[in-house]
Amino acid sequence: MVVDGVAVAAMQEERYTRRPADSSFPKWSVRACLRAAGLRTADLDRVVFYEKPLRKFERCLATQLRFFPRSAGVFYKSMYLWLGDRLWMRNRIADELEIDPERIVFTEHHEAVAANAFFTSPFEEAAILVAGGVGEWASTSLVRGRGHEIEVLGEVRFPDSLGLLTSALTKFLGFEPGRDEELVLALADSGSERLAQSIAELVPATDDGSFRVDQRHFRFAFDSERLFASRLETLLGPAFPARGEGCEPPGPRAADVAAGLWKVLELRFSALLRELARRAPCTNLCLGGDLARLRRLNAAAYRAGPFQSLHVPSAPAEAGAALGAALLVSARLTGERPSRPESAALGEVALAAPDEPTRILSGPAEARSLLLTQLLRGRVVGWVRGRFELGRQSLGARVLLGDPFDAAACASLRQIRLAEPFAPLCLAVPEERADELFDIPPGAQSALRNAALTLRPREALRARLQAALGPASEAVACTVARARDPELHALLEAWGAARGMPVMVLESLEQRGLPMARTAGDALDLLQRSALELVVIDDRLYERAGVRPLATAVRHAPAPVPTDD
């Protein structure tokens, strides 16, 4: 929701329906956006959808026919989905919002992703790399942003896609595509480069910085379920079974595949950045798309690349694209650049739960002191305050906090989140002291505020922080500026005074397989379901022992539906 060039609300439907990456019509988040802006649908000048369904249908149909007869098994399903629902997006929006169809507009998907990356950045001009699965036809776009304009300079077309290749190999390794790609890259350092050559041959580079993907080994072009073909198993060995809860850490062969993928991604991504710098000579870089969610890749490519400053939005892929589409339409309507959102906290405040709190706290100072006491005891605590953020990584509004120097606390935090034991954790540090902890590439402040890079802590601290780091001895770095989040900044400073170094684990309040907590009720559900012992929600403290199990229907009474009265 953009009002007068200012983003006033942006939220993901999955937080409301509790279905991860929910692709159903976003009726709950639409209502929430209208509520946040105090508007009705009749007040909207434009409603924008972040891709062009007709061009996407063209791509789906052409691809299904191109890969016939391999695609024969999924043709019916795909056409049923398109002809029964997706193609008629204008009808759907007009019906659901009861809005004049003339006010519904569509943007190119990668333009929307690029607009999100650029308009949320501090740059007046920037080169933008959008690399992900696929938009309409483009899988990768080289874009320039200048003032209020976005200009696509070149693209790599589907089915050559680094994002889909990564998802296919993620699935091959038994991880969940669309969710676990980062975990796969975290594994890469423990593998050898034994398979790197074989994997590189599947993705040959071309002279113009682009690449191809050998489709004989993959099925992602036409089949969204089985992403790779049996030929890939001939090359890399049998596929790994799907990983469930409590699986053993992946073995050396999985690490070798991950290492090969990492090598290819690093090379091709860097080549794309060099080509982007040639076409859009500029020192500023913005990243968007699914690959920009891979924080290890962001850091490596930026370090190797020709750019001097970097921005990655809090939600670089799909969810952010909706915000980007709205910002882009606003820019095109007014001819002015939209205001840069001050923070990613564009969601709703935590609705109160019917549960009685263990204690009401007198204010932020008492909350801080309580959190500090509990953290010093080695406990993991939940902290919920204010509006929730757009994106996968909470930057402070819905978080689990823990002591990164305490191996037991790190293990407990991973267990609460049902995370893999080797998953690198996110470490928050005051912005002005980040240099003491991490070897920070110059010009990356904007990306670090959105926790968009994985960095290696400095040598002196690495051993002490080992429990929080992944196999590559890296952690996700999140810097906290006093002006943006004074409460979290004050907590980190107090923690630093007590512990010697102001660094704390800051992970999203969620469990693997479920979306991040939105309401107080979601946080209390997690309190009961996991080993989490206490959670502070605004000025209320809840301890597990004091919270009675409540039926989901009672705790999650649906939000009132706004009426036109």
Binding site: L54, R55, E58, M79, L83, R90, N91
Partner: protein, 61 residues
């Protein structure tokens, strides 16, 4: 009924846009395939918009 007509009208407009866009682009050869697929899809859209038939749309097909 006005809603049903509006839906059908919008559906026909989308179908027209699709055929025009295909015809102008490099995938003009998809037009015959789309011409076969679209009528069935439009019936689907029309039936979904008719309140009395909508619950039985899967039975109809």
């Amino acid at each position: 009924m006005p809603n049903t007509l509006r839906s059908l009208n919008l559906g026909l407009r989308t179908a027209g846009e699709l055929v025009r866009a295909l015809w102008r682009g490099p995938y003009w050869w998809l037009v015959p395939v789309v011409a076969l697929l679209l009528p069935a899809a439009l019936v689907f859209v029309f039936l979904q918009a008719v309140p009395l038939v909508a619950p039985f749309v899967y039975t109809v097909f």
